[in-house]
């Protein structure tokens, strides 16, 4: 609930700064929806995909630092495959380029999962390996160049096109969000994930295939990252192995946590993550809209994140409200000392 309030506040700030045009979608000549907020959503799609995958990983008490590198690999493979072909506009080619990219990223994810589940390596280290090597692999694929796909290739539609007036990246992100939500909430997968994250040993003794689930989760996360890379590359028509998705893992984790999922595993909230992503996306625009210079980007982000984090903390709210609620001089107990039998 708090993230939603913050998001609304940000939107209000933007509306005050730039007028209601900010939120009201406009219709472009070619019938596509445009406007500031739609653009934010469209641009946030890759981050959303990654953050969704990350949510699942975090639910199992893991973390995936390699998503940025996987993003770059997905983008690199797709673009390189396309530009290596004689006819960049062939639909079949684009289809196979996308398929190859997704298969490779899935394999990478499975690898991460195996390292964590079967070799018992701490997730942060296991994925650090690919975080370091992954960009190298992406650069290897592109030979250090930035492959540029012809604008006429159907591939670019993935990032720039629209379906029923709504930009395709938004469709993809919404679809994945719905699919994951259904998959985790309609089946028992969500509960099993939370169980593995909450208490792996108890889960094992209860007969849960915790290793299989762990591998699956990392696989899905990498797949999401690969897909995000495809959208990013399609949007630009090019793949930048070195900078594509750089530090996106931090933003993704940030979005997950803003959305209310704890890094300690257990309960996860896909919708919360989505809101977190939109907050981050809106924030970047807000800085420009209220006329702050580039130097402010980091500082403003820090402030907003801090406010969200504090508002989400019941202890903070109690502390702030205390002087209002109760006036008696008797010192109330410091709230943080309450032990919730953790």
């Amino acid at each position: 609930m708090w993230p939603l309030i913050i998001l609304l506040a940000l939107i209000v700030v933007n509306i005050v700064a730039t007028g209601v045009d900010f939120i009201v979608p406009s219709v472009n000549e070619d019938g596509r929806l445009g406007g500031a907020f739609v653009n934010i959503l469209r641009r946030s799609a890759p981050l959303l995909l990654i953050a969704l995958g990350m949510t699942l990983v975090i639910a199992t008490k893991g973390i995936d630092l390699s998503v940025g590198a996987v993003y770059a690999i997905g983008a690199a493979i797709a673009c390189q495959t396309i530009i290596d072909a004689p006819d960049q506009t062939a639909a079949g080619l684009v289809f196979s380029a996308v398929a190859i990219a997704l298969v490779v990223t899935a394999v990478i994810g499975a690898w991460n999962g195996v390292m964590v589940a079967y070799f018992g390596i701490q997730p942060i280290v296991a994925t650090l390996i690919l975080m370091i090597a992954g960009r190298g692999i992406a650069q290897l694929v592109t030979g250090g160049q930035i492959p540029k796909v012809q604008d006429s290739s159907p591939f670019t539609e993935l990032g720039r096109g629209a379906f029923l007036a709504v930009p395709i990246p938004i469709w993809i992100a919404a679809l994945v969000l719905t699919a994951l939500a259904l998959l985790t909430r309609r089946t028992a997968l969500g509960m099993l994930l939370e169980s593995v994250g909450g208490n792996p040993e108890a889960s094992r003794l209860a007969g849960i295939r915790s290793k299989g689930i762990t591998v699956l989760v990392y696989l899905v996360c990498a797949l999401c990252a690969g897909l995000a890379g495809l959208i990013g590359a399609a949007n630009l028509g090019s793949a930048d192995a070195n900078n594509g998705g750089l530090w996106i893992e931090l933003d993704a984790i940030l979005a997950v946590v803003i959305g209310g999922t704890a890094l300690l595993g257990g309960r996860f909230f896909l919708l919360g993550t989505a809101i977190g992503v939109v907050i981050i996306g809106t924030l970047e625009d807000t800085i420009i809209n209220v006329g702050l210079s580039s130097q402010w980007q980091f500082t403003a982000k820090a402030i907003v994140v801090f406010v969200v984090a504090l508002l989400q903390s019941p202890e903070f709210r109690a502390w702030i409200l205390k002087p209002i609620k109760r006036r008696p001089a008797a010192p109330a107990p410091a709230p943080a000392e309450e032990v919730q039998a953790k």
Binding site: I146, N235, D240, N243, G244, D285, I288, S294
Partner: protein, 311 residues
């Protein structure tokens, strides 16, 4: 025991061992630069081996690389410094070890002048000035009086971003061009962010009435061009665009009429660098600064120049 110094210079008889501490691989420009240097060293008989280290844009890593070259006792160290300051000690160590240092691309602060032999590279402020000069010329008689400018800066705090900005506005101010800097944000030298920032510029300020977009490199410029097209405008016509660098893709965009002016920043100076390195190793006199040959190109030259582009 460390008495075994047989490596001294890696067999000075058959050529030089050169250590090259490169900034990173952060852009196509940089990759082209690395490849040019590596290829030139490979092809050059006078060079026995090129030790190449990529510091991933981190000064500490680069200093570490230089120290490693010193320990390896290479003949010449080539350094492409990430930033200008902070090199005194490590350059002094190289001097103490009797290894000459050549700077490539960016420079170091003036006070360290005695610690390197020569610098070969581009002058970012000059590139900014070149861009500024064209802007002044083009918009001298702007019908509405003031030239309204959007700027896409490079990575906040990096030398090219700072100098290209400074050089550009230096000329504008000096020439007295009436202008308004409508907005200026960092696009981190990447197409991705260049596009995103441009989209926001468009929604915030609109494009009508904006005269000029100045992008500190190709990638950002190309990203911005897409954003402009997607918003339904004609880049190069509805808004004039200057980019710095001049990659193939940049020139292609120029040929397609999507941008108006390219200030070259040439990464392909490997052969020039090898000549300098050999001269330095032989103790010959060299100039303190050797500029890389760079040009400027306007719409009339794009077509002709495109085939000559190497990156």
């Amino acid at each position: 025991g460390g008495g075994d110094d047989s490596g001294d210079g890696g067999g000075s008889g058959d050529g030089l061992v050169v250590g090259f501490a490169q900034v990173g691989a952060e852009s196509a420009w940089r990759t082209a630069n690395s490849e040019s240097v590596q290829a030139a060293a490979e092809a050059d008989d006078r060079i026995a081996e090129l030790k190449f280290v990529d510091a991933q844009q981190d000064q500490e890593k680069q200093i570490e690389a230089v120290r490693n070259f010193i320990t390896q006792q290479v003949d010449v160290i080539v350094l492409a410094p990430v930033v200008e300051t902070g090199w005194t000690d490590v350059l002094q160590e190289a001097a103490d070890a009797g290894i000459p240092v050549v700077l490539a691309d960016r420079g170091v602060e003036a006070a360290d002048e005695d610690l390197y032999v020569t610098r070969l590279g581009s002058d970012f402020a000059e590139e900014g000035r070149k861009a500024g000069a064209w802007a002044v010329e083009t918009f001298a008689e702007d019908p509405d009086g003031t030239t309204r400018i959007l700027e896409l800066q490079g990575t906040t705090g990096s030398a090219p971003a700072n100098d290209r900005k400074a050089g550009f506005f230096e000329v504008l101010d000096a020439e007295g061009l009436p202008y308004e800097l409508v907005d200026s944000q960092s696009g981190n030298f990447t197409a991705e962010e260049g596009k995103a920032v441009m989209e926001t510029f468009i929604t915030t300020h609109g494009l009508d009435g904006i005269d000029l977009l100045y992008a500190h490199n190709d990638e950002m410029g190309l990203g911005a061009i897409q954003a402009i097209e997607e918003a339904g405008y004609q880049p190069g016509t509805d808004i004039q665009i200057i980019i710095v660098d001049g990659s193939k893709a940049g020139f292609q965009a120029g040929v397609d009429g999507k941008l108006n002016y390219i200030v070259e920043c040439n990464p392909v100076f490997g052969e020039q660098l090898m000549d300098v390195v050999v001269q330095v190793a032989n103790g010959e006199e060299v100039e303190k600064f050797t500029p890389v040959e760079e040009g400027v190109f306007d719409a009339s030259q794009f077509e002709a120049e495109l085939p000559n582009r190497k990156f």
